[in-house]
Symmetry: C2
Subunit: 457 residues, 2 copies
């Protein structure tokens, strides 16, 4: 080769068609966590299968006990790359806060440039399509794909990926490659690309406390009858101390201090803590007091109550003393923290604090450990240079506060590292109303993958 410039031109000239295809994809309401959207998830899988086939992949939808996988194989070369993405999206509630229909994608002019507004625009449909469209451009210009590629898409990333591990274990040989590529992360800022080399892991738990065996009238029982919401709020309140540290025994085992060189690199990024918090209406960092905001997100564990429910929550008042109360909580993990040990400790923590008349039940989401990538491997240097060639500022190695459990599974089941390159921005509002993806992220994202694939082929 390299006729990279012809491929980049092809991408530029066909941008409108690429956007049209993304819009078609975004119109499919593939909310994986809610069983009501099952057929839409299947429709998204079929749509992707057809697209890959059009481009020249040998592609198929493969059904699972949950939502289908999509797998596409094509291209030739010494090195074999596995690309992973997910076609499912988050729920849209609270729907009343959206300024437009979440499943009717719109281009909007904003202060930050043109954006694509829709659920899934950034997480992860827009991102995965940057890779697919880069492949398409190579095929159009050269008549062939840029490397030996396996594309692998799931539809359960936003609902705990129950089918992922069994599928990967049953299809080790078809998925095994030299390196994985994943597009589900963000840029440092709108002009600075990044490769994520540290990812937090996760433990998720739904806790239900049961007290009386039925809902009671608080006039008749208020006082002598134990209220499960009171029990739940008390126990949850004991999970943090006054220094915002998590009190679960043994929780910090495997949490290492940040190495001095990494800390120095991160400090040099001059993260604007005030602007980061102000963007969402806050002003005071709420995490562990001794850690910087960037460390709190990238290198320190955290605990959030993601949802809580019990008793009467409709309009008006109802003086009920409820039978049950429920909370969904999640821990973000770093370093060598063990998800299984934390699940067990959480169970003990709660059960040991129950009053005699209450019981607790638990549903755990598939946990995942944190991941740290080998940044000294040559592919990481080449990819960093390719991104630096595309964007105004050089590419940085960064952490990532969110979990991408598949990266752990790729390591554990397929024994592969992952090159995590994504073009999301902090204000994309993923998992929130009015999610968007910058048009520049989409366009230069496609060009970035073309450069990375060219450099690694």
């Amino acid at each position: 080769m390299s006729n990279l410039n012809a491929v980049l031109n092809q991408i530029d000239e066909n941008l409108d068609a690429s956007v049209d295809r993304l819009f078609d994809f975004l119109r499919i309401q593939s909310i994986s966590t809610d069983p009501a959207y099952q057929s839409q998830c299947q429709q998204a899988a079929d749509w992707l299968t057809a697209e890959l086939t059009n481009i020249g992949f040998d592609a198929q939808r493969e059904d699972t006990p949950g939502h289908p996988m999509v797998i596409g194989k094509g291209g030739q070369g010494d090195k074999h790359y596995l690309f992973y993405g997910h076609y499912d999206v988050q729920p849209v509630d609270p729907i009343e806060l959206w300024t437009s229909d979440p499943f009717d994608p719109q281009k909007e002019n904003t202060e930050g440039g043109v954006v694509i507004r829709a659920r899934g625009a950034a997480d992860d449909k827009g991102q995965l399509m940057t890779f697919v469209e880069a492949c398409r451009a190579f095929k159009q210009v050269n008549g062939e794909l840029p490397a030996k590629l396996t594309l692998f898409f799931e539809g359960e990333e936003e609902s705990g990926s129950p089918s992922l591990v069994p599928y990967m274990e049953s299809n080790r040989d078809r998925l095994k490659a030299d390196l994985a590529m994943v597009c589900d992360t963000g840029m440092w800022d709108a002009t600075t690309p990044s490769i994520s080399t540290m990812l937090r892991g996760m433990v998720g738990a739904e806790i239900t406390i049961t007290g009386p065996d039925r809902d009671l009238h608080s006039g008749m029982y208020g006082g002598p009858a134990m209220n499960p919401i009171r029990v739940l709020t008390r126990i949850l309140s004991e999970l943090h101390d006054d220094e915002n540290r998590i009190t679960l025994p043994g929780f910090y085992e495997g949490v290492d201090p940040l190495p001095a060189d990494i800390k120095k690199q991160w400090d040099s990024l001059n993260h604007d803590d005030a602007a980061f918090l102000q963007e969402v209406g806050l002003s005071v960092p709420a995490g562990e007091k001794e850690a910087s905001v960037l460390e709190q997100i990238w290198a320190r564990p955290s605990l959030d109550i993601n949802g809580i429910n019990g008793g009467y929550t409709g309009e008006g008042f109802k003086t009920v003393l409820p039978s049950q109360a429920m909370a969904k909580i999640s821990f973000r993990l770093v370093g060598r923290q063990d998800p299984i040990a934390i699940e067990e400790e959480l169970k003990r923590f709660i059960e040991s604090r129950l009053p005699e008349d209450c019981s607790a039940s638990f549903v755990f989401k598939n946990g995942s450990a944190a991941t740290v990538m080998p940044v000294d491997a040559p592919e990481f240097g080449k990819a960093q240079q390719a991104l630096t060639d595309e964007w105004p500022n050089p590419a940085v190695y960064a952490g990532c506060g969110g979990s991408i459990p598949v990266v752990g599974h790729i390591k554990d089941i397929l024994d592969m590292d992952s090159l995590l390159i994504g073009f999301g921005l902090d204000d994309d509002a993923i998992h929130s109303p009015n999610e968007k993806y910058n048009l520049s992220s989409f366009h230069k994202g496609i060009r970035s993958w073309a450069r990375v694939l060219d450099a690694l082929s």
Copy 2:
């Protein structure tokens, strides 16, 4: 007179027709707290108005900014009695726990005898109809009502009675009588009637805590961003101490120790604490440790969290860090506790515990002070004897853990005491799924009112 026996015979012979009328009334879905049921509340008011007119009252529906009042006047005599009841009912959720349609009343054979199963069977449609049917029997037998009566029904008792005070203040002259009668309380047990002479008051509050100005992704913000559910659970957990006492400053001002003679009377009732708790799946009294269960319900204040909600509570997991969290709480008041002072102290308690980035908003339900009746007045003795004549065991003076705010308004606005006689039982499941009213409560309740009206006319 007295041809009381003829009236009692008339009641016995017409019981089936009385039950049929009650069933018609129970079929009307008059849930006052939910605006979706507004027309059904009006329908219940119209139904009552028609019934009173049939019996010979001069009755009308009177509209308010909320649900209508019904007022009926009739009869003659030296003494004038005001009877109060409410035609609205509680919501039915969780609907899946009902064994039959809550608005399709059924007679069921149970271990405790025949019951009428429906939402509102006990609270308060069945109860108020005991008085209406007693009036009807007098009219049928004598051609006239037993006394000078004003019947007064509201449709907002289960939703904070927003129209009640303005209406009572505007209609003082029409409502003023010598004594009020209210049928919204219970018996001591299935064979022992009671007159409630102490009622707990109430303060209700809906508290909403706001943190970030939008829902966030806990992967991106978990750690540095303050989580309002965490703030809410921490503050709520601080409202009780380890002795189950309420920690709000000044809360116990106006709570007097129980007088020795009352304590002795209550102790002689031999309340079965274990059975009372076991009935609802509990075993350990959860209130203030130094008080008996009966004292905890009748003579000690309490605090319950009636509902809590925030973040994602649907199926599956969503790693959201929500913008808001809400709780509905209520205090039960006794003695001379001041609802307004408690509302203000609660506001201060919560606001003083908010971290810098959180705000709180409050909606208070109309508060009410506790009530203590003048048991030495002659009407109380006559009523006690009338009830003793009807039932196997003598009638007792009792406390009542629930609030009947109207009793406070009758005192404050109309300067009248209330004779609180009701036929509910502890296992009626009012405010819960599968509410019921014993057929014997309904039948002997009608007979009881006939005896009381005869004694007081």
